[in-house]
Amino acid sequence: MKITICIGSSCHLKGSRMIVEDLQKLVKDNNLTDKIELAGQFCMGNCQKGVCVTVDGEAFSLTPADTRTFFEKDILPRL
């Protein structure tokens, strides 16, 4: 599975770095490094809904506060 996080200007200011770091930690703590690939991408063209995150192409809108919920509700069940 590939999770892509937008690192463009707008999403950066909305906290994409914190989401990247949280996800990196969650993936590692759950021993999923061989199942989940994390990647960055410049502006996904959907800045109003930032921080933009896609999971295998499906778009999600996150804030740093709900990274864990997103991981538990939208990522873990898909594996």
Binding site: I5, I7, G8, S9, S10, H12, L13, S16, R17, V20, E21, Q24, L38, A39, G40, Q41, F42, C43, G45, C47, Q48, G50
Partner: protein, 390 residues
């Protein structure tokens, strides 16, 4: 004229407790023009020394660059400098470095430590003659320059760094030459070479310089062009025209901005590979596109580059941290401040709808202002700048 470029940079440390420096550097020309650099060290410290060295450097620089014979210049100084009421002398030492037609170096020195010349990173023992003008013994040297020659002029505060504190007899010119050789890298700029040496002087003085200390460096280098594109064009149909012009230029290519990267990626038919490393948490990660030397985020990164540029021009700041850092802003700073002699900016005027959000802490309308300010800073660093808008 050849393809050489003369780059200069200098830094002074003030005598502890003084707000004015008694050393003064005056520079005329440089780049692809004739260079005249004068380093003067006024007798004593504080305001008196500052007046003496300011007069000396300004008069010498103006007269010498105007082609007036040395005898007349020295006579003018002797007749102009105010006489110190305590010591009954008017006195300022000086070093004059001239580089003509990017071919010949002419060094004239009076009582300053002898200028160190590094050629291919090794100390170059240049020929010297002496002559007496108005009772002053003056050293003169003339020799052809080569690419990568490094001229390091100094006031005696550098030689004496650490005397009676960390060293018995101070640092000495020979040790400074050894230090400059040991830290020599062909790509180090004049300014960072001066910073490196002055940092060491400051360390030896324990942060409390016992004399005004100045290092002025001139470096002979090849010209190098850096091209930076930021922002997509106002009209989408101009994308290809902008890209043709950008990639048609020789030199390093830097792409700033997410949307701009997408335009470049489409043009080159190469994917954007983004990293997730944050060497500086304030600066978004860089990406790579095959065919582009550096790809970064846009406005946040450039705002950081501008603060680095302003700090770099501020004489009071010592060795900058962007020299060794790997985040996007530091990499751009190094490329623009250190490597470039000529910079071409390609600025797109398209408005990004996401940037109109009033909740965001950066006002994105400042993008063009950012580029203009950065261009001004680079001009102050002596670089040739060209701005094109699309």
């Amino acid at each position: 004229m050849n393809d050489l470029w003369i780059e200069t940079g200098w830094i002074s440390l003030n005598h502890v407790g003084e707000t004015l420096c008694g050393d003064k550097v005056e520079i005329h020309g440089g780049g692809d023009e004739n260079l005249t650099l004068v380093l003067a060290d006024g007798l004593g410290s504080g305001v008196k020394a500052n007046i003496l060295s300011t007069l000396t450097s300004k008069i010498l620089c103006t007269m010498i660059s105007g082609g007036i014979p040395l005898e007349e210049c020295v006579a003018t100084i002797a007749n102009t400098l105010p006489v110190c009421s305590v010591r009954q002398v008017a006195y300022s030492t000086f070093t004059i470095l001239q580089i003509r037609n990017n071919e010949t170096a002419h060094i004239i020195q009076f009582d300053n430590p002898a200028t160190i010349v590094l050629r291919k990173g090794e100390v170059f023992d240049y020929p010297r003659t002496t002559r007496v003008i108005a009772g002053k013994t003056i050293w003169e040297s003339t020799f052809p320059i080569e690419v990568d020659d490094l001229f390091i002029a100094m006031s005696d505060g550098a030689e004496w760094a650490g005397v009676g504190m960390t060293m018995n007899f101070g640092w000495t010119r020979d040790s400074i030459a050894d230090y400059a050789m040991a830290n020599y890298l062909p790509e180090n700029s004049a300014k960072s070479t001066a910073s490196l040496i002055i940092d060491e002087c400051d360390r030896l003085y324990g942060g409390r310089p016992g004399d005004d200390t100045t290092i002025a460096v001139a470096r002979v280098r090849n010209r190098h062009t850096v091209n930076l594109v930021v922002g997509p064009p106002e009209n989408k149909e101009d994308d290809t025209r902008m890209m043709n012009l950008f990639f048609g230029k020789k030199g390093t290519k830097i792409v700033c901005g997410g949307t701009t990267s997408n335009v470049v990626s489409r043009y080159l038919h190469q994917p954007i590979v983004a990293a997730l490393d944050y060497p500086d948490p304030e600066v978004p990660p860089i990406s790579t596109i095959k065919g582009v030397d550096l790809t970064t985020e846009g406005v946040i990164t450039l705002a950081k580059v501008l603060t680095y540029a302003e700090d770099f021009l501020d004489q009071a700041k010592l060795a900058p941290m962007w020299l060794t850092r790997k985040d996007g802003a530091s990499l751009i700073a190094k490329e623009l401040f250190e490597n470039a002699t000529d910079v071409n900016f390609f600025v797109g005027r398209a408005i990004n709808p996401a940037h109109q959000n009033p909740d965001l802490p950066i006002n994105f309308a400042i993008k063009q202002q950012l580029i203009t300010s950065l261009a001004e800073c680079l001009e102050k660093m002596g670089k040739h700048i060209r701005l094109s808008y699309f």
